[in-house]
Each structure stands twice: as C-alpha cells, then as structure tokens.
C-alpha cells in the first residue's frame, strides 16, 4: 500500500512538473516583457528628443565683410549708432546685382537682427577698429538656419515654405562661396530668452534654476533634518506626533500646484515678496520638498542601530552628544540622498511656479535672488508654445540639457550612497 501511494505522489509531481516549469517560464517572460516595453518607451522618448534637438547645438553663420564706416560710427556716441545699416550694407555688397527695394529688404533679412548687436559689442570693446573693414561671422536668420539644416524642405512649391526661391538661390550662392557655415551654437548657452530663435538661449533659465535650488536647499535641508531628528529622537509617542506623522506623509503626496497657490497667498499677497523672483520660487519648492526630505531623513535615522546609541549613552555621552557625534554622521549619507532626489524633483517642477509668476518672458539674465527669473522646465514650456519652427529644435535641446542635469543629480545621489552608506 505504502509503496503504491509513494509512487503515485511522485507520478503526480512528475505529471505536473512540465506544467509548473511552463508556468514559471511564462511568469519570467511577463516580467521580461514589461522591462522590454519600458525600455522601448524610454528609447522612443530619448530618441525623438535627440533626433529633433541635436541640430540646435549648431547654428548657421554667415561671413560678412563689414566696413566700419567712420561716418556712421561716431566715436563719442557709439551706443546709438546705426549698426543695422552697416550689416545691411555688407549683405547687399555680397549681391551687387540685387536691385529694387523689396528684394533688398528680403536680402537684408538673411542675417539675424542680432548681427547688429554683435557688431555693436565688437566696436564698443575695440573702438580702434573704426575705419577698417572686418570679416565677421554673424548669425543667420532662423529661417535660413532651418532651411540649411533641412527642417524647411527644398522640394515643396515656393508658396508653401517661408524661404522663397530667390532666397534659396542666395543661400546656395553663399554656401558655394564658403560664406555660410554651420558652427557650434554658443548663443544657446550664453544668452537669455529671446523671441528670435537664433538669439534665444538657456543661460537665464539655468541661472534662475540655480538660484531657486540654492534657496530650496538652504531652507529645506536644515529644516527637514531638524524636524526628522526631533521626531525620531526626542518626540514622545502620542496622538499628536502620530497626527504630525500622518500629515507629513500626506503632504508628500499633494499635487505641487497646491503649493503654488499657497505660495501666492502667503509669500506674495501676505508677505509682499516680489513676483516672479527666484526667492519666492525657492520658498514654494521648499514647502514641496520638505516632506520628502523629512521622510528620507527619518528612514535613515531609523536605520542607525540602537546599539550605537546605547554604547554612546553607556560611556557617558549626553543625548545631544549621542545624536550629533554618532547618530547624525551615520545617517547623513541617507539624508543627503533624500535631499538630492528632492532637489531633482524641484528642478523639474513648473506647476507651482505658474502661480507665482515665474512662467514669464524674461530676457535679462538674473543676478540675484529677487531678480525676475524663470527656470529650465518653464523655458521648455514657453518655447514649446512658440509658433516659430526653429523653437522646436531648441525645445528639444533644452530638454536634453535638463535631462543631463537630472541625470547628474541622480548619479550624485547613487555615488554618495555607495561611498558612504554603511550596512549593519
């Protein structure tokens, strides 16, 4: 009897075995498929951004021989001289056969309006150049740039593109004579926002993001750590601390726009801080990141083993000495990881900034905490909404810069954790 029973159990197992293996393989396959799908989406996202944006790092420039006419440039009054006329004359000189007011006007538009400012800077810094003829690479107009990069197709009827056949002929002529080239786009990294795509850059937004993050870090890290230390080490366990804990966890999940509304009511309407300033942006983002930092800090305080505290107290350290000499240094890497991840989230936020006026067109690069400023994700949003086609590639390029910054911050968090984290 026993013999047959034993065999039948084995048999049953053996019969079911293939099915069990199949089921397991299927289960693993589902997991693999999920990962493949998310990787595919990531590649699609990054691929489309890079494909659209990589051209923005190069910019079409045109070589002009500009005669710095002393009759136009009065040495005593360089700021108000008509630089645009000098640029225009230089362009017209390249095509002496062009006549007629309308044609000349179109020809003058091959070059960016920024060329005049470029020339102005050059002459103001070196007035001794006046009278000479200088060869200068100046920025091309955004439509010329788009055409050269192939974003405006050549093979469609003339009426359907913003660069007409005449302009195409001029551009080809310039390219043939080596006067038109794609160069590295320094403007993109050095300028503030502009309505002319070829003059627009991310410097203002990057500085705004920097100022905002400095305020956020300087406020949220000390406050967050202090709150976590008190709650974890000193606070009695009672209904009040439970209530506080529940509220902190809740706050971490609140949509960020709510913090923007709060910031509008408290910082702008009640405290009368300046609108659109990175200071207020930082304050609002502090409110938003505080719960994240408190939760991360408490978790890392909790992970410090009680034996360390007990040993410190045992050799006669006071409660404060125990915490500041032993517990806090051991918990710090975890806290910093939490803070960096909180900062990375703050860097990517736009919604709360909408309410406090940081979604704005700001040309001047901010130099302080109270200057009007905007931040990188807002700059991306504003460019994405602009009609000029050249902003499409700039939007993608700005996204690439933002992604790189986020990647760097997250990498820093991982590095910190790997370097300083101690396992018990």
């Amino acid at each position: 009897m026993r013999e047959t029973q034993k065999i039948s159990t084995m048999e049953r197992v053996n019969v079911g075995l293939a099915k069990r293996y199949r089921r397991e393989r299927r289960f693993r396959l589902f997991g693999l498929a999920a990962i493949a799908a998310s990787l595919l989406f990531l590649v699609l996202l990054l691929g489309s951004i890079v494909a659209k944006g990589y051209t923005a790092f190069r910019q079409t420039e045109i070589l002009l021989d500009i005669h710095l006419d002393p009759t136009v440039l009065d040495v005593n009054n360089l700021a108000t001289a008509n630089y645009a006329a000098l640029v225009r004359d230089a362009v017209l000189a390249l095509f002496p056969q062009v006549e007629g007011r309308q044609d000349k006007r179109v020809l003058g538009k091959l070059v960016s309006t920024g060329a005049a400012y470029q020339l102005q800077d050059m002459v103001m810094s070196k007035p001794e150049l006046i009278g000479a003829t200088k060869s200068v690479w100046v920025l091309a107009d955004d439509e010329v740039d788009m055409f050269v990069k192939g974003h405006i197709p050549r093979d469609v009827p003339e009426s359907e593109r913003r660069v007409n056949d005449q302009e195409v002929a001029w551009i080809d002529q310039l390219t043939a004579s080596g006067r038109l080239q794609l160069k590295f786009n320094t403007t993109f990294f050095q300028a503030g926002d502009s309505r002319e795509p070829e003059l627009a850059g991310i410097r203002g937004a990057v500085m705004g993001s920097l100022f905002t993050l400095v305020v956020t870090l300087a406020l949220s890290f000390p406050i967050g750590v202090a709150a976590a230390v008190y709650l974890e080490e000193f606070a009695p366990k009672n209904r009040w601390t439970d209530l506080i804990e529940v509220n902190i966890n809740n706050l971490a999940a609140i949509p960020s726009i709510v913090f923007g509304l709060l910031g509008l009511a408290v910082f702008l309407n009640f405290m009368n801080l300046p609108r659109s300033a990175s200071l207020v942006g930082g304050l609002v983002l502090t409110l938003m990141t505080l719960p994240t930092i408190i939760i991360a800090s408490r978790a890392s305080l909790k992970s410090v083993p009680p034996s360390i505290r007990e040993a410190a107290l045992g050799v006669g350290a006071s409660k404060m000495q125990t915490i500041s000499h032993h517990v806090l240094p051991l918990a710090l890497p975890g806290m910093m990881t939490g803070a960096i991840i909180g900062m990375a989230r703050a860097l990517g936020e736009t919604a709360p900034l909408l309410m406090i006026g940081m979604v704005a067109f700001i040309v001047d690069i901010p130099h302080g905490f109270s200057d009007p400023a905007t931040v990188l994700p807002v700059q991306i949003y504003l460019w994405a909404d602009s009609p000029e086609r050249a902003f499409v590639e700039r939007t993608s390029a700005a996204i690439m810069v933002l992604l790189l910054l986020l990647l760097a911050m997250n990498a820093a968090a991982v590095l910190l954790r790997n370097k300083f984290e101690r396992r018990w």
Partner: protein, 352 residues
C-alpha cells in the same frame, strides 16, 4: 557636523534677509501680464525695447486675458502689473473691479488684429465651409434635419451629412478648451453667426438671449470636437499625423507652418494676410493692451515702451510684428491710436 549645520543656518538667514531688503525697493522694469495670443507680439516689442533703450527688458507673463486683467485690476500699487495684454476688449465688470481697487485711469491701445483659422493637413483637399456648416458640425444641439423648430442632439457624423458638397469624412475638430480666449472668440464669431442662419433661433436672440447663447455656444461632447489644450503647436502636429481632422488656432501658426497645413475657406474667404487685414475674412478679432496711467513716471520706460509698440517699424505693414503674424490696422487707424497712446487718453467708464 556642527560646522555644516551652522553654515547652512547662516546661509538660510542670509537668503531671508536679502529677501526682505530687496522687497522694499521699487521695481525698475515693466511688468506685463495677460493674453497668450498677444504674448508673441508683446515679447517681440519688449525685446526690441530692451535692446535699443537704456531701460531693462520688461517681464511678460502669459496668463490668459481674463487672468491678466484680474491681476491688473487687483491693485494700484507698484507691486501690481503695469500693462495687461488682452485678446478682447476689457469688460464693464472688469473696469468696475479696477475702479474699486483704485485703478481708475486705464489707457486702451488697440494694436492690431488676429485671425482664427480652421486648418487641415495639406495631404488632403482644402475645405470650403460656411459658418452655418461649422455650427451644424460642432453644436451640441441643432435644428432637426427633418424640419420644424425642434432642437435635437447633433445627429451629423460626417461633413457630407452637414452639407452635401463637403467630403464624406468623419467630423473631427481639434480645438482649444473653454478657458482659452481663442475659444471665446471662435464661438462668438463663428458659432453665433452660423446659428443665426436659422430663423427660429435668430428670433430667440431677441426674446431670450440666454437661451440663444446656450444653444449657439455649446459645443458637442460626443467626440467630434476634441479639446486639444492651449498649445497650438500640438494641434498642428496632430493635424499632420491625422489628415482627416481639422484644427482651430491662431493665424500666426498657419503662417509659420504653411508647408504642412492649409487654412479652410470660411464663407468664401481664405485666411491670408490680406483678407484678414481688410476685414473680409470673417473670423478675426482686435488685440489690445491696457496701461495704468498712474504707473507712467513711477516705473521707468512705460511711455517709451508704448512708443515702440506704436511705431511703424513695429506694428506697420512691414514691421517686425507683421513678421510674427500680427495683422496690422489700416494706416489712418494706426495714426489715431498712436496719438491716443502718446497722449495717454484714458478710457471713460460710461463708454460701456
């Protein structure tokens, strides 16, 4: 450890104190809020102004017309905006709110026109629509196709159902959400007019205006009209991907994407620069900026900014704003408006 804590504490104190001293100072740049339609034009002027004068570049927030005028009217002090951009004229209620909050002297400057277009992909044919067709295609309730005065839930599925001369394509229109000024203007200039083509409804306007508006301006919610958000670029991209759909957006986006999309004819007029400028294209609206007279002199550069905006090189036929898609006013009108702006003539409350 203590050192780090101390430095951080000192840093936060520094930030806080810097804030309080800075906040007390006056503003040395112009603050502008308002319509996202006027935004591309006013930013272009602001940039030119910042580069060619000694003043700082104005700060411009795109808040929408309603939101902008609300901020503009919230107070008279220098911490409130100096200029509001609007894609419609200021309302009586808004003027009253302004007055209640101490903003009594407002200068109105009409800067030009903007056209609203219905457009589709160039891969398919151009649509020739009348405003009546558009109303029938997009309204939630339409007069019963069997005749009679009764209103029924919109039964039309294809453009051919609406008008036998139109293609047998499914009705699919991408447009802005109700919060947008473009949508307001669209329902007012297209839906209301198309609606009034029906005698019984037209009669309603005199007897029960509220009902008239409800009938004419309610857009269908069964999927034929898709709210595509405020981003016009997105609508253009979607039109390219789906040649069967139509999109509603501002003229400047059509102008910039002429190789991909085409504007539909409305009542026999194609949306181009000329037909909008001379008022033949039926769906165009004036754009305004509103200035607080009390701030001129207090905030540096307001008068100069207005002068730049109303100069011929900005808003003229060949100006840089026309390049950006603004439709200029006729020469005489420009002259009058520029003179009014220069004299800072305020709007009088009983005008409404």
């Amino acid at each position: 450890m203590q050192k780090i804590a101390l430095t951080l504490a000192a840093a936060s104190l520094l930030v806080a104190s810097a804030a309080s001293t800075q906040a007390a100072d006056g503003r040395d740049y112009i603050s502008i809020v308002g319509s996202s339609t006027v935004y591309p034009f006013s930013t272009a002027v602001a940039e030119q102004f910042g580069k060619t004068t000694k003043f700082k570049t104005p700060k411009i927030e795109s808040t929408g017309t309603g939101g902008g005028l609300k901020l503009f009217c919230a107070g008279a002090g220098v911490d409130s905006p100096d200029i509001a951009n609007a894609s419609r004229q200021i309302k009586k209620a808004e003027v009253e709110t302004c007055a209640k909050n101490g903003v009594t002297q407002i200068v109105e400057v009409k800067v030009g026109y903007d056209g609203i277009v219905l457009a589709n992909s160039k891969k398919v044919g151009q649509m020739k629509l009348s405003r009546k067709d558009i109303f029938l295609a997009l309204a939630k309730e339409v007069p019963s196709p069997e005749g009679g005065d009764k209103l029924v839930a919109n039964p039309y599925k294809t453009w051919k159902d609406v008008n036998a001369q139109l293609p047998a394509e499914k009705i699919e229109v991408l447009g802005p959400p109700p919060t947008s000024g473009t949508r307001d203007a669209f329902v007012e200039m297209v839906m209301d007019e198309g609606c009034a083509a029906f005698e019984p409804i037209k009669a309603l306007k005199k007897t029960d205006e509220k009902k008239f508006k409800a009938v004419c301006q309610t857009v269908r919610e069964d999927g034929a009209y898709i709210e595509a958000g405020e981003n016009d670029n997105l609508i253009v991209q979607k039109l390219e991907a789906n040649p069967k759909s139509l999109g509603i957006f501002g003229f400047s986006f059509l102008d910039q994407n002429a190789d991909k999309i085409q504007g539909s004819m409305i009542d026999g007029q194609a949306p181009d620069f000329k037909s909008i400028a001379d008022g033949k294209y039926p769906v165009s609206r004036p754009l305004f900026i509103y200035v607080k007279k009390a701030h001129v002199g207090q905030i540096p550069g307001i008068a100069e900014y207005l002068a730049e905006f109303t100069s011929d090189r900005a808003w003229g036929e060949d100006g840089y704003l026309a390049e950006k898609g603004l439709i200029p006013m006729p020469k005489d009108e420009r002259k009058t408006v520029a003179a009014d702006a220069k004299a800072l003539n305020v709007i009088v409350n009983n005008k409404f």
